[in-house]
């Protein structure tokens, strides 16, 4: 589904040239839930943003379903981007729009043959009662679920998540991971999750790339059986940590 070949990306500033991605190769299969793990500055976001061309590589090819996105015209690219959903660390909701209008926003940009209905997608993320609220009135976890609903309403073939839980506390993290997991099971799209939080990848993904200094060091298969405990509720975790000796 996704084929990145020999991707190099340099950010140049006045002082220095920063090699954010160094000859990266990566293949992700259709329907996979793929994680990208690494410390801050490793190049995870840059890698993810290559997949929907928010960032263009200096060299290399980015293929999504056999189409090389780097060669497309702007118009052709928009037609590809229309089928790729994205979820952001800071949610990026429009604060002046209601939950309903935020979620429907992608449908006002393009025609979609078979989108979800607003009510279905809000029910799916558990926010049916917040339809007419503004983002300002929501908690972080609720805001991120609106962000996920906005991405899901188009039935994307590919869902990109950049640190989807990093602005949330551990409990809300669990809530958001659960929604992403359910979305993957129900809609069978390919998911790529970038995060520095290991438990998120462990509970959500089949495989993960470990990144460091702009390179993929290793790709690991995730052992599901040992990960069944997933993320525990806050009080259980607190009890474990505090009573631990």
């Amino acid at each position: 589904m996704i084929e990145l070949r020999d991707i190099t990306k340099t950010f140049s500033s006045r002082q220095e040239n920063l090699l954010a991605l160094n000859a990266v190769d990566l293949s992700i299969d259709t329907g996979e839930a793929f994680g990208v793990i690494g410390e801050s500055g490793a190049g995870k976001s840059t890698l993810l943003r290559m997949v929907n061309m928010l960032e263009r590589p200096d060299s290399g090819t980015v293929k999504v379903d056999q189409t090389d996105l780097t060669t497309l015209s702007k118009k052709e690219l928009r037609q590809e981007q229309k089928q790729i959903g994205m979820v952001f660390q800071q949610f990026n909701l429009l604060n002046n729009l209601t939950v309903a209008d935020n979620v429907k926003l992608p449908l006002t940009l393009h025609d979609y043959a078979d989108p979800l209905t607003l009510d279905d997608v809000l029910a799916f993320v558990g926010l049916s009662d917040k339809k007419h609220s503004y983002p300002q009135e929501l908690s972080g976890g609720q805001k991120q679920r609106v962000g996920i609903a906005r991405a899901l309403i188009t039935r994307p073939k590919l869902l990109l998540c950049d640190e989807p839980t990093s602005a949330l506390d551990q409990n809300t993290t669990e809530e958001v991971v659960a929604v992403l997991k359910k979305a993957h099971q129900e809609f069978k799209m390919t998911i790529v999750v970038v995060t520095h939080e290991l438990p998120v990848v462990k509970s959500l993904c089949n495989r993960a790339a470990l990144m460091e200094a702009g390179e993929i060091r290793q790709i690991v298969k995730i052992n599901r059986s040992s990960s069944e405990k997933t993320i525990k509720p806050y009080l259980d975790r607190a009890r474990e940590v505090l009573a631990d000796d």
Binding site: N52, L54, L77, R78, Q79, E80, Q81, K82, I84, M86, F88, Q90, N92, L94, N95, N96, L97, L105, P106, T108, L109, H110, Y134, Q136, L160
Partner: protein, 228 residues
């Protein structure tokens, strides 16, 4: 102590028709300035924003040209701008003096430049993530502007517009030099040149009330629009 009051009221009644006429002239100048601010200042300001480095329509040359134009107009002493535009106004409108419509030409020019800058600033306050979100959805630049940037910047655009209109009131007061009339010109003629001080203060109070009214309306609307 109170005997000045009937005298003042009588004079006020005498002057009222001319006061109303000058308010009407101010209204005409403000009307053209406001229309220009919205129809031209808004797009110019949006282009200033969109063509800057790192933005979706990044274009050094276009951005440089717009910036130079806007800065040149804004730094031009307004009185000189009015005078410098006289030949042009005569060309396109037939006459350059003695009429609030002729006087609206320089108002229009300053209105575009002034509001364009406010618009650019309002758009800069929108988080960069909003633009990224639009682009990730495959939005065109037009959709980015209308469905994302203007939506998030709307209350700030209204506040900027209010501030601009209040400046227009101030600019309009000097249009008397080319016979454009208006409430400011009225105050100057009767207060400064004919020492009808009470009438001058009446006109000044009216100008202040006008400004207060705009400020109040603008803030009210901006608050209503702001859901952040």
């Amino acid at each position: 102590m109170t005997e000045w009051l009937p005298v003042y009221l009588e004079r006020l009644v005498d002057f009222t028709p001319r006061l109303l006429e000058s308010l009407w002239e101010t209204g005409i100048m403000l009307f053209f300035a406001m229309i220009a601010a919205v129809l031209l200042g808004l797009p110019v300001g949006t282009l200033l924003y969109m063509t800057a480095d790192g933005r979706p329509m990044a274009n050094r040359l276009a951005n440089r040209i717009l910036n130079v134009l806007v800065n040149a107009i804004r730094s031009f002493p307004f009185l000189l701008l009015v005078i410098a535009m006289q030949p042009f106004i005569r060309q396109v409108y037939g006459r350059a003096t003695g009429d609030p419509i002729a006087a609206s030409f320089p108002m229009v020019v300053i209105a575009i430049a002034l509001y364009a800058r406010f618009v650019e600033q309002s758009l800069m306050e929108v988080p960069k993530g909003i633009t990224e979100t639009a682009q990730s959805m495959g939005a065109t630049n037009r959709q980015l502007v209308f469905k994302f940037l203007y939506v998030e910047a709307r209350s700030s655009l209204v506040i900027g517009f209010t501030t601009a209109v209040i400046s227009f009131v101030s600019y309009s007061t000097i249009m008397g030099v080319v016979g454009g009339g208006g409430i400011g010109d009225f105050a100057i003629r009767f207060g400064y040149q004919r020492f009808e001080t009470d009438i001058m203060y009446t006109a000044i109070v009216l100008i202040i009330l006008l400004v207060e009214l705009f400020q109040w309306l603008g803030l009210k609307l901006a608050r209503k629009l702001d859901k952040r």
